[in-house]
């Protein structure tokens, strides 16, 4: 099943930031979002993830299929690495955190309190959470922040494996992950300010 955005507009605190976003993301493929800072990439991803409603247009094929990873990793510092992952595995009704620990080299850290990890290790833990969700569509917002070169390669391998298993990924990133991905530049899709005399003004 494809994830589709049809003439989608998204708004941040009520102000439209992007309009006319169209894409189709088929299983096995990745789509990389590019665009200058502040253009609305995060807003677009939050809308696709269902955290906020579209301003206009629609999204199809997102229902209960998306695993979202934002800037914040949602890690509890007083829980151990394994407890953090195990919690999300239980929430998403999957079992077995070992593949996720293996994929990001977190095995030796499994019993460490997550609060004692370095920024890059925390990020790896945050990304490992995607594997335990068991969801096919990954929506990732700047996933490589604070990762070193080796960890970025690790992440790219995981995404490649995910795509190979029929998953798909929508990634906002500025670095080249070496993935065979379509690039969607949202820089040209900046929303125009509402025309004077538009429906809002009539309403007021």
């Amino acid at each position: 099943m494809d994830l589709m955005a049809l003439d989608l507009s998204v708004a941040r605190t009520g102000v439209p930031v992007l309009q006319g976003v169209n894409f189709t993301l088929a299983p096995g493929f990745a789509l990389v979002l590019r665009g200058p800072n502040g253009i609305g990439k995060t807003t677009l991803l939050r809308t696709v993830a269902g955290l906020q409603p579209p301003y206009a247009g629609r999204i199809e094929g997102a229902e209960d299929r998306i695993a979202y990873a934002a800037h914040a990793d949602g890690i509890k510092p007083t829980l151990s690495v394994a407890e953090n992952l195990g919690f999300w595995a239980q929430v998403f009704g999957t079992s077995g955190i070992t593949p996720a620990l293996d994929a990001y080299g977190l095995h030796d850290l499994a019993d460490r309190a997550a609060g004692t990890l370095s920024a890059g290790q925390k990020r790896r833990l945050g990304l490992a959470r995607l594997l335990v969700t068991g969801r096919p569509v990954w929506v990732l917002d700047e996933p490589t922040v604070s990762l070193d070169v080796a960890s970025v390669a690790m992440f790219a391998d995981v995404v490649r494996a995910h795509l190979g298993q029929g998953g798909s990924a929508l990634i906002a990133t500025h670095i080249d992950l070496g993935l065979d991905a379509t690039i969607l530049d949202v820089g040209d899709l900046r929303a125009r300010p509402p025309a004077p005399g538009g429906p809002e003004e009539d309403f007021l």
Partner: protein, 218 residues
């Protein structure tokens, strides 16, 4: 659901989780009352049910700002909102965890503090029963307040202002049950009202909390 409950309980018992803070606050407030109103035991016996109820209510309020704010700050709330659990269930479970870590200890501590305030002997049983019936409403209403103010800087005080008026019915009927119990009066009416308020809050408040949380997450 069980996972979320056990996670919240573990987090609250581990270092920095804040378990026991509300209980200690309840203790301090109650101990300070005789200092402020004087040591006449008859006066203390008269005000004991009301003071204990007010103390429990304030102690409950104290721990509310952590209820959703921590999950908001570290991003888990966003992730929970995209998880298969309905948000109504998430807020209900978090309110239940709050009650277990805050309301329930207060229920058990109240009789001990009743001794300090010279609570008449028949009152103990009804004090415990009224708190047991009433404190779940405090947690559920408090979760609504926490959902309203999540994401606001310095939202704690604003939340107190929003939540305290909503606590008034529970306080009136809860303290009335304890007072009538202490005086060995008939207390079925306030007890039924208290139970009714709690039941209605548990049934309806999660929907309101989830709705405001969805808006706050946008």
């Amino acid at each position: 659901m069980i996972a979320l409950l056990s996670r919240d309980l573990i987090l609250s018992f581990r270092a920095g989780g804040g378990f026991g803070l509300a209980l200690a606050f309840f203790l301090i407030v109650t101990v300070m009352v005789p200092f402020s109103v004087g040591p006449q035991s008859s006066l203390l016996a008269t005000i004991a049910p009301g003071v204990l109820w007010l103390g429990a209510l304030l102690a409950c309020l104290l721990s509310l700002d952590r209820l959703l704010a921590l999950d908001w700050e570290d991003g888990s709330l966003d992730l929970l909102a995209t998880a298969p659990l309905p948000l109504e269930m998430v807020v209900s479970v978090k309110a239940f965890a709050h009650w277990i870590t805050t309301g329930l200890p207060l229920v058990f501590a109240a009789p001990l503090l009743g001794v300090l305030l010279n609570l008449p002997a028949p009152g103990y049983q009804w004090l415990v029963i009224s708190l047991l019936v009433g404190t779940p409403a405090l947690s559920v209403i408090g979760t609504f307040g926490a959902a309203l103010t999540v994401g606001l800087k310095r939202g704690g005080l604003l939340m107190s202002l929003l939540v305290l008026p909503l606590y008034v019915p529970t306080l009136i009927f809860g303290a009335e049950v304890a007072r009538r119990g202490a005086l060995e009066m008939e207390l079925a009416t306030p007890l039924v009202m208290l139970g009714g308020i709690t039941a209605a809050c548990i049934a309806l408040m999660p929907f309101a909390s989830a709705a405001v949380l969805r808006i706050n997450l946008r």
